[in-house]
């Protein structure tokens, strides 16, 4: 169930991130947002369509005023209904990026970028030129925004938000309106942004692949309620998530690139439980890389297989088993040298393999299933 606080995620003296306890109605849906986020890193707000994700983001931004409760970022109180405190959005120092880029059509690309930058007083600690280059906007500065492609528009919207010196970034499915090529390009840029990001970000998405690659912390939302929140890996491998979210569960492995096979176009990743081959991602050696292993893509065997096409075989130990959303299936939680994996298998296989908590197994994962 919903957790009020996640004290294990920060030290006692750490600055506080966003804390919100808000409740409101949106049509038939009663929404209750109860979150305490870390002061840095990316928090994914994940849930099925209609769970109220965008509504939550708007309430946090202060764009909708119908919520009651409290919201604060660090020491700044943004909302406190009992004390009639409500800080309007323009004084909250936000960087809001929406699904479809909402660029100002009466301004050029540069005019859009500078809108928030000027109002923030062109702060010295923000490197405008570096951001423009990082997101490949240099050549577009003089263009009209209606002449831009979907991907270019989103890049402008993102840099515009970053330039406004925000204290909290709110990204509402920034990739969902893009085609696959533009999405991959932008996802890569967001990954590198993640490494240098000094302010917290809330990233709303219903695409688990984006969440797996970007987020550090996860808030799972279903039917207007926070059903789980915590560190990404731990939360995504929980067995007690509601049925609407079971498609999303699976392990997220973070490893180091230890080798490339140029001939077969594979990248080898070392992680706590061994090594993984993934389709080549063009990454440099030593780089940290994330990879999501969906519960559906894991096959369990007693023995290490020799005549198998599955490139990855990981030695693991069964931790627990739980019912999946279909009565024929179950979810098996595995420990692979400290990394938690999930496997979705049939009940028939569970019994045929005579598995119990503590059983030693081999988890087989097709490298094909680990594509970016």
């Amino acid at each position: 169930m919903a957790e009020r606080r996640a004290p294990n995620l920060r030290e006692r003296d750490d600055p506080r991130g966003l804390e919100a306890t808000l409740a409101w109605r949106r049509g038939q849906l009663a929404i209750e947002l109860n979150i305490a986020l870390p002061p840095r890193g990316i928090t994914a707000l994940f849930g099925p369509s209609g769970a109220g994700k965008t509504s939550c983001l708007r309430a946090i931004a202060g764009l909708d005023r119908d919520s009651a409760g409290t919201a604060s970022l660090g020491d700044e109180v943004w909302q406190d209904s009992t004390r009639h405190v409500f800080v309007p959005p323009h004084r909250r120092r936000l960087g809001y990026v929406t699904q479809e880029a909402s660029l100002f059509v009466h301004r050029s690309v540069a005019g859009n970028l500078d809108y928030g930058y000027r109002r923030a007083g062109q702060p010295k600690h923000i490197d405008r030129d570096a951001l423009i280059d990082q997101f490949g906007l240099r050549a577009l500065l003089g263009r009209r925004v209606d002449a831009l492609s979907g991907g270019e528009r989103q890049r402008v919207a993102i840099v515009r938000a970053l330039l406004s010196d925000p204290s909290l970034l709110l990204f509402d499915e920034p990739l969902s309106a893009l085609d696959a090529t533009a999405r991959n390009d932008l996802l890569g840029r967001l990954e590198s942004l993640h490494a240098t990001l000094a302010v917290p970000m809330i990233y709303v998405s219903h695409a688990i692949e984006e969440v797996a690659r970007l987020a550090d912390y996860l808030v799972l939302l279903d039917a207007g309620h926070v059903v789980a929140q915590g560190a990404l890996q731990a939360t995504l491998t929980r067995l007690d998530l509601p049925a609407a979210l079971t498609e999303a569960v699976g392990a997220v492995i973070e490893g180091t690139v230890v080798g490339h096979d140029a001939h077969d176009h594979l990248t080898e990743l070392a992680f706590a439980g061994g090594t993984l081959f993934v389709p080549r991602r063009g990454d440099v050696l030593g780089q940290r890389l994330r990879c999501r292993i969906g519960a559906r893509d894991v096959v369990l065997t007693h023995e290490r297989q020799t005549g198998s096409s599955a490139l990855n075989q990981i030695r693991a130990c069964v931790i627990a088993m739980a019912d999946a959303d279909h009565p024929s299936q179950c979810l098996v939680q595995l420990d692979a040298g400290g990394s938690v994996l999930l496997a979705r298998i049939t009940r028939r296989s569970w019994h045929a393999l005579a598995l119990v908590p503590g059983s030693a197994v081999w988890a087989q994962v097709k490298a094909v299933a680990l594509g970016a």
Binding site: A61, L63, P88, P89, H90, R91, R92, R93, L94, G95, Y96, T98, E100, S102, F104, V105, H106, Y115, G116, R119, A120, D146, R160, A161, S164, L170
Partner: protein, 228 residues
Amino acid sequence: MMPLLSTQDLQAFWLTLRLAATVTAVLLLLGTPLAWWLAQTRSRWQRPVAAVIALPLVLPPTVLGFYLLMLLGPQGAVGRLIAAMGLSALPFTFGGLVVGSVLYSLPFVVQPLNNAFEAIGARPLEVAACLRASPWDRFFSIACPMALPGFITAAVLGFAHTMGEFGVVLMIGGNIPGQTRVLSMRIFDHVEAGEYSQAHTLSLCLLVFSFAALLAMSLLRPRRVERG
């Protein structure tokens, strides 16, 4: 051969232009906040206020002029207030004409502005708010530039409509040369006196002007911008 326009005709012409320019300026100053309020408010007064502003569209101008005369006259509430403030009465003056014309043309300015403001939608304003723009800042930096076509339409319609008004002028302005004798009154005078060719010249002037105004409006309108 007689000159195309007599001195009196020219006087009426310049007076009309001066009136239209003054009224347009006042209308834009008055209509912009009104239209913005109508586009933004969720007040239950929004519809009643919109209906009152739209009244001149359906009301006979003489009715509007009559009530204005009653209200602004020496016995009227506003008239007495103005007298108490030591100002001269408005009826049968240029000032009175401006007041009447502003009320009469108000919907022609407020409605295009209101449509333009509503067409912007909430999104650009919310985005601007998230980029630290205060409500005033958003109004001037986002709403006004994005509603520019609406301003052009409003100005042209307000100006052209004032150029040709008759009923309100008749009731509240009278027909004082150089003061309140505008083009439409002059045309009426000519027709009454049987001077059809002079009436024709002035009427043609107004016709050509109106056409030119509407043409200019559609040419000035920026090309529709694709979105999405």
